[in-house]
């Protein structure tokens, strides 16, 4: 080698020179792991999607089971020890059995414990029949009363005596999937329009940019309300679901398209893209091998941040009564039950239980997206 003589040290020092030898993806993962809240949120989001997937397994009661003896029943606590007759206590998960009392003068219901009577609780108990993942018949439930005939309202009950906890768990499926489906639609529209805009530039770019500016300048809620109100009430639930999803995804794609366009524009002038073209790669290969991997991490982060926005949008529409309609159960339709202040005062859990669920899910998704974005951005603070 003719050059060996000038380079002995350079070769030797190469390992010392830059201690960082991890690949870009592992570096990103390491950075993400350091963002502890985001890391915890990743697990939380995973758990919520598991709830959505295995809803019936986690729900102790059937979704639509009404119960006249449970109308507006308040949440019941879980107790750990029972006292035996001899005074010793023994570990046994249980809830206290209750009965309804109606005050004759005010016509108000109240629930009082039946002394000495308990409802034993347990894991992997027998309950109603369902199909796990729409396939496997089963009647095992994760947690609930050991006797299938007992009912315990961990998060209270609604005006028909339906179990809120079970309804929230089943509602997870609709609410969380609307986010995912909506994001998928946004992704397709956003990436293709943004990509077209950024790659071709010129008048294509101009038209798409104007379109985006236009869409962004319309206040979303009136627009959605208009669109959602146009959905005939007689439509089957599934069709309503998809139309609502499409309406909701209309917000997401504009910002995504802008982001993709910006990335395309900045990447297009990047030397390594020019170099790839000069290496003989076709336009499509340049996009696939170089451009998309370069901004995929950002896209993933923005998508993660778009999911909660869509969840909130669905919730708002359903709450107003122009989104999803019962009998579809989503967090939004659950909250619709808590629309007037009198109901809330009588049964605050109707508001607080699904509300907390929404806030937790949205928070977790936001933290996750934030962590992903920080990890993807080499210049993050």
């Amino acid at each position: 080698m003719s050059l060996a003589d000038t380079q002995p040290e350079a070769a030797k020092q190469a390992d010392v020179a830059v201690p960082e030898l991890l690949g870009p993806w592992s570096l990103m993962w390491r950075k993400f792991r350091r963002h502890r809240v985001a890391y915890v949120s990743l697990w939380l989001v995973g758990f919520i999607y598991a709830l959505a997937l295995f809803g019936d397994f986690f729900a102790p009661e059937r979704l639509d089971d009404t119960n006249r003896r449970g109308i507006f029943a308040p949440p019941q606590g879980i107790h750990f020890f029972v006292e035996n007759e001899d005074g010793s206590s023994e570990f046994q998960l249980h809830a206290k059995a209750r009965k309804v009392q109606v005050n004759q003068s005010t016509m108000r219901r109240s629930y009082v414990d039946v002394p000495g009577k308990i409802i034993p609780l347990g894991f992997f108990v027998e309950g109603y029949d369902y199909k796990l993942l729409w396939l496997i018949p089963s009647n095992t439930h994760f947690f609930g009363p050991k006797d299938p005939d007992d009912v315990v309202y961990f998060l209270g009950a609604d005006r028909l005596g339906r179990d809120i906890l079970s309804r929230i768990i089943i509602g997870t499926k609709i609410s969380m999937s609307i986010g995912l489906v909506g994001v998928a639609i946004s992704l397709v529209i956003g990436v293709s329009l943004g990509g077209l805009s950024g790659y071709y530039g010129g008048w294509v770019d101009n038209v798409i940019q104007r379109l985006i500016e236009f869409l962004r300048s319309i206040p979303t809620i009136p627009l959605w309300m208009g669109l959602a109100a146009a959905i005939p009430l007689g439509w089957p639930p599934l069709r309503t679901y998809f139309v609502v999803t499409i309406i909701v995804s209309m917000i997401g794609w504009t910002s995504l398209a802008r982001e993709v366009r910006g990335k395309f524009l900045s990447l297009r002038s990047e030397d390594f893209i020019v170099a790839a073209r000069l290496d003989g790669l076709s336009d499509w290969e340049v996009i696939r091998k170089h451009m998309i991997p370069s901004f995929s991490s950002h896209i993933i982060a923005s998508l993660t941040l778009a999911v909660p926005m869509m969840i909130l949008a669905e919730t708002s529409l359903s709450f107003l009564g122009i989104g999803l309609q019962p009998p579809i159960v989503s967090w939004g339709t659950l909250l619709k039950e808590a629309q007037n202040i009198r109901t809330i005062i009588e049964a605050p859990w109707l508001l607080l239980a699904p509300g907390t669920m929404i806030v937790v899910a949205v928070l977790a998704l936001n933290f996750l997206g934030d962590g992903l974005r920080d990890a993807a951005d080499p210049h993050a603070h």
């Binding site: 190469a14 960082e20 003989g280």
Partner: protein, 327 residues
């Protein structure tokens, strides 16, 4: 004796500026204007100029990263037909990109941070020769050794290299397709003094070894003088002087070249008291008519301000000045 590898004739590259959705461009920038030159096989042809002189645009037009507005360019390849670069379609261009390669200024941005060295250096071989697997890694490993890096670096990512090493990777990639012509655009400008010297040596060694022709674009006159055989000096899109290195540095003929040479600080404290030529500040704009350098030229006359000069061939050099040889 003359055996040009590249012929450039009357090349123009104009960029429209301004204008919105409805509007027409308000102005055009003539970034490269009526440029003609030949590059001889085996030589190092330098293009120097200050920022905004159009040297980088010119390099990118030759590579056809940018499409020229007007003019002709022909690449004469050994043992193959010659190629008209202006009219070539994508397939012919892709072919030309194997014989004509580019080394970029910023080794940081010209290497995709998400790909391994094997892929970065080897992707052109994958395309052009259909290599893959062991054959590809052997070839790339060999290339790495040729530029003074180790085979073992194949599976690393660019972030594991220092600036100088990255530029070596850029050079390895340029050499992968066994090109005849390499365009080095400010290839050593971003490097530290000591690394710059190593890289210049490497470029010279490789030139000898593989009989390469270089087009070396730079703003550093000392570097250009060191490595180039002939030099074109650009000012606001035009070549104002083109001559052999020796003539250019011994006896510059264009007033801009002279001013440029005299502005370069010389690393010898004893030279500091020599008389300096200082140019008045230009506003970067191009005058409507006449010589583009006239607003800053100490010798400008009415003729200069009104009539555009034509390139004057004199003693092996071309000078774009009405008074070439007189002042």
């Amino acid at each position: 004796m003359s055996d040009p590898i590249l012929k450039v004739r009357n090349l123009d590259k104009h960029f429209p500026i301004g204008g919105g959705f409805f509007g027409k461009p308000t102005d055009i920038v003539r970034a490269v204007d009526n440029v003609s030159f030949d590059v001889e096989r085996g030589e190092t042809f330098g293009i120097v100029g200050e920022s905004g002189s159009g040297k980088t645009t010119l390099g990118r037009c030759i590579m056809r990263v940018l499409s020229p507005t007007n003019g002709d360019m022909t690449l004469h390849r050994k043992g193959k037909d010659s190629l008209d670069l202006v009219t070539a379609d994508r397939a012919r261009l892709t072919e030309s990109w194997q014989d004509m390669r580019m080394v970029f200024q910023d080794p940081q941005s010209s290497l995709n941070p998400r790909l391994r060295v094997l892929e970065i250096v080897g992707q052109c071989l994958r395309k052009s020769e259909g290599l893959s697997g062991k054959a590809l890694s052997d070839r790339v490993g060999g290339l790495l050794e040729e530029v003074g890096l180790r085979k073992e670096f194949l599976m690393r990512y660019p972030n594991a290299f220092s600036g100088g090493q990255r530029q070596r990777l850029g050079i390895a990639r340029a050499l992968a397709t066994k090109p005849e012509l390499v365009i080095a655009d400010e290839a050593v400008s971003a490097l530290d003094v000591s690394i710059q010297a190593q890289t210049l040596n490497l470029l010279q060694d490789l030139q000898e070894q593989f009989a390469l022709t270089y087009i070396f674009i730079a703003h550093d006159l000392a570097v250009v003088e060191h490595i180039c055989d002939r030099i074109a000096v650009m000012y606001l899109g035009e070549i104002v002087e083109l001559s052999t290195t020796q003539d250019l540095f011994r006896a510059p003929k264009h007033p801009y070249t002279r001013a440029l040479l005299s502005a370069v600080p010389i690393p010898d404290p004893r030279a500091r008291h020599k008389a300096k030529r200082r140019l008045p500040v230009g506003d970067g704009g191009v005058p409507d008519k006449g010589c583009r350098f006239a607003p800053r030229c100490p010798h400008a006359t009415e003729l200069c301000r009104n009539e555009t000069p034509k390139a004057k061939p004199m003693a092996g050099a071309d000078v774009l000045c009405h008074y070439a040889g007189e002042i």
